[in-house]
């Protein structure tokens, strides 16, 4: 049997009608769109520029990456940055990953425990401790770095990733506990109380009931903390000094010379270093923005 094809009813628009419809779109709307896209060019062009520079030989860039009279795409920049003689990214990117992954998950774990006690238990000095926590969120890295430098040397953890991870962990705790405590406060207590009556331990309640409900908040923390640690430069330059241990931000900062800059290599390196946080942002965008807007003090 022949299947009946549904009859297509195309609206028959005459040209004059189309024009009339377009006219209905207000002039101000068109203007606003033009303005918006125009302004956004200011933000997009530098990224486009660094991308074009990364795939073109230096002489072409020096004549302006926006000129396409000659266009010989090359991968020399990426290869050069990957195997750079003094700051090779093949090693630095890997190093950054080794530092960033534990520096992301350890503080979240510790902060979740701490935030849970602030949200669910009453204990002496709780309010004072919480006030200190809020205050600590604003401490600049410069205010702690000299004593940390000395402590790490005496502990044998200077120029050692464990030292850097510990510092990142400690520095993340105040804002993460603050963020998570506010989140826990919004969860209903009744389920936990029921579990308590059924004889579950506090630790078990925390793992089996509270943490699963907290996943969206944990996703926000993961996104923000990963990007923060990956992007950090200050703790890294003070605490890590061996060339082969340097992190990605240190490597890319060392690449442009004082005078002549090989923009092909530097642009390729910039792209390789920034693509990681950009991917995290794109994948976890909703959680990233939510975490940031929730007033998490960071930086």
């Amino acid at each position: 049997m022949k299947p009946k094809l549904p009859e297509l009813k195309l609206p028959k628009l005459k040209l004059s009608e189309t024009v009339a419809r377009l006219r209905k779109v207000k002039k101000t709307t068109i203007l606003i769109h033009l303005l918006a896209w125009g302004v956004s060019l200011i933000w997009i062009l530098p990224f486009l520029g660094v991308f074009m520079a990364s795939i073109r030989p230096l002489p072409e860039i020096l004549d302006g990456w926006w000129n396409f009279d000659v266009f010989n795409p090359t991968l020399r920049g990426f290869v050069g940055a990957w195997n750079h003689p003094t700051a090779p990214l093949n090693r630095a990117l890997f190093n950054s990953l080794i530092v960033t992954v534990p520096s992301t998950f350890i503080p979240i774990f510790v902060a979740a425990l701490g935030a849970y006690s602030f949200a669910r238990f009453k204990f002496p000095t709780r309010d004072l401790l919480f006030f200190v926590l809020v205050l600590l969120q604003t401490i600049p890295q410069q205010m702690v770095i000299i004593p940390i430098f000395k402590i790490m040397i005496s502990l044998g953890l200077w120029n050692n990733y464990i030292g850097l991870i510990l510092v990142h962990t400690a520095f993340a705790l105040p804002w993460q506990i603050f963020f998570l405590r506010n989140f826990f406060s919004t969860l209903p207590v009744e389920i936990e109380e029921a579990a308590r009556i059924d004889g579950a331990s506090y630790l078990k309640i925390f793992y089996k009931i509270v943490l699963p409900l907290t996943l969206p908040a944990l996703a926000s923390l993961t996104a923000l903390q990963f990007v923060w640690v990956w992007n950090d430069f200050f703790f890294a330059i003070v605490l890590i000094s061996s060339p082969e241990m340097k992190l990605a931000t240190q490597a890319v900062a060392a690449m442009p010379g004082r005078l002549a800059i090989d923009w092909t290599v530097v642009s390729a390196a910039s792209i390789m270093v920034m693509i990681v946080p950009i991917i995290i942002y794109v994948v976890l965008q909703r959680y990233y923005v939510r975490g940031l807007v929730a007033g998490a003090v960071k930086g």
Binding site: I61, F121, T249
Partner: protein, 295 residues
């Protein structure tokens, strides 16, 4: 409440208290202490603070008074940063948030604008250096096209222009933050308010002035506070472009602290700068901290 129950939060909080005491609270107290010590760890009172203020890299207002180009000193540079960057960043953030609300593809543009907040500040600095480059930079390319070719230069290479170039650069990098916070704030304003205003015959400007701005006050407080803190602590960008140069024209407090501590090995003066930086930070953050605690 029995004893067993009061021990549980301490058990949960133990790792936090240990880590914070060792790597944040002790270091903060210790930095204040070091700022009062001389080279042989002897107590010198406020000498380090006086020493810092005697440095041209930290405090050189005479150039500013005489209308000469920078260096004016790190403290004044940070101040100029705040005075210029804060209003621009607020303005662009709010303008973009409002503009992009009803624009097709607005979400995509927002993501692009926000990228500056996601990339490492070190890379942000490199992007700026590229934009401002004499030959390869698009700013100079644009100036040549519009017939201002005489003005072209590497904007980050001269004391006359580097500070302004970097401040405008951080507007470019950080506007995404105020835009995102304001966008969230705008979404939180109930639509009924705007409709009611329309029915009452309020003009666009009146609606903006009497509804939008007051309703965005919490967002504004967050944006102002956070931006102030970043402006005070700015480091990476200045480092990667000229390391405070040329001739100290882009020196800022955080960078000077680093150079004093780890280049000159003068922990006393470095700690004095860090302490002043923190006092300023607390001053600016006080109102937000007050609101957070009150909640």
């Amino acid at each position: 409440m029995n004893l067993r129950q009061t021990k549980i939060p301490l058990f949960f909080l133990a790792p936090t208290i240990l880590l914070l005491t060792l790597f944040v609270i002790f270091p903060v107290v210790n930095t204040i202490y070091i700022s009062f010590l001389g080279e042989e760890d002897e107590f010198v009172g406020l000498d380090n603070y006086a020493e810092v203020f005697s440095r041209r890299n930290f405090w050189a207002p005479q150039n500013l008074v005489e209308g000469k180009p920078p260096p004016y000193g790190a403290l004044i540079h940070n101040g100029i940063w705040i005075v210029l960057h804060l209003p621009l960043s607020l303005f662009f953030g709010l303008a973009l948030a409002i503009l992009l609300r009803d624009v097709k593809g607005g979400a995509v543009i927002k993501s692009a604008v926000f990228l500056g907040m996601v990339i490492p500040m070190i890379v942000g600095g490199i992007l700026l250096r590229f934009v401002y480059d004499d030959r390869a930079g698009i700013l100079n390319g644009f100036l040549r096209i519009v017939g201002l070719g005489d003005l072209t230069r590497t904007w980050t290479a001269y004391p006359q222009t580097i500070l302004l170039a970097l401040i405008l650069g951080t507007v470019w990098i950080w506007t995404g933050f105020s835009m995102i916070v304001y966008s969230a704030g705008l979404e939180g304003i109930p639509k009924e308010l705007f409709e009611a205003a329309k029915i009452d015959g309020a003009s666009r400007w009146q609606t903006f002035r009497r509804i939008t701005v007051p309703m965005l006050k919490p967002a504004t407080i967050i944006v102002i506070t956070m931006t102030l803190l970043w402006e005070l602590k700015i480091f990476d960008i200045v480092w990667v472009i000229q390391q405070g140069g040329p001739g100290g024209a882009s020196m800022v407090m955080a960078l000077m602290m680093f150079l004093e501590a780890f280049l000159n090995r003068s922990f006393g003066t470095a700690s004095a700068i860090a302490t002043m930086l923190t006092v300023l930070t607390f001053g600016f953050a006080a109102y937000m901290v007050y609101r957070m605690v009150k909640e």
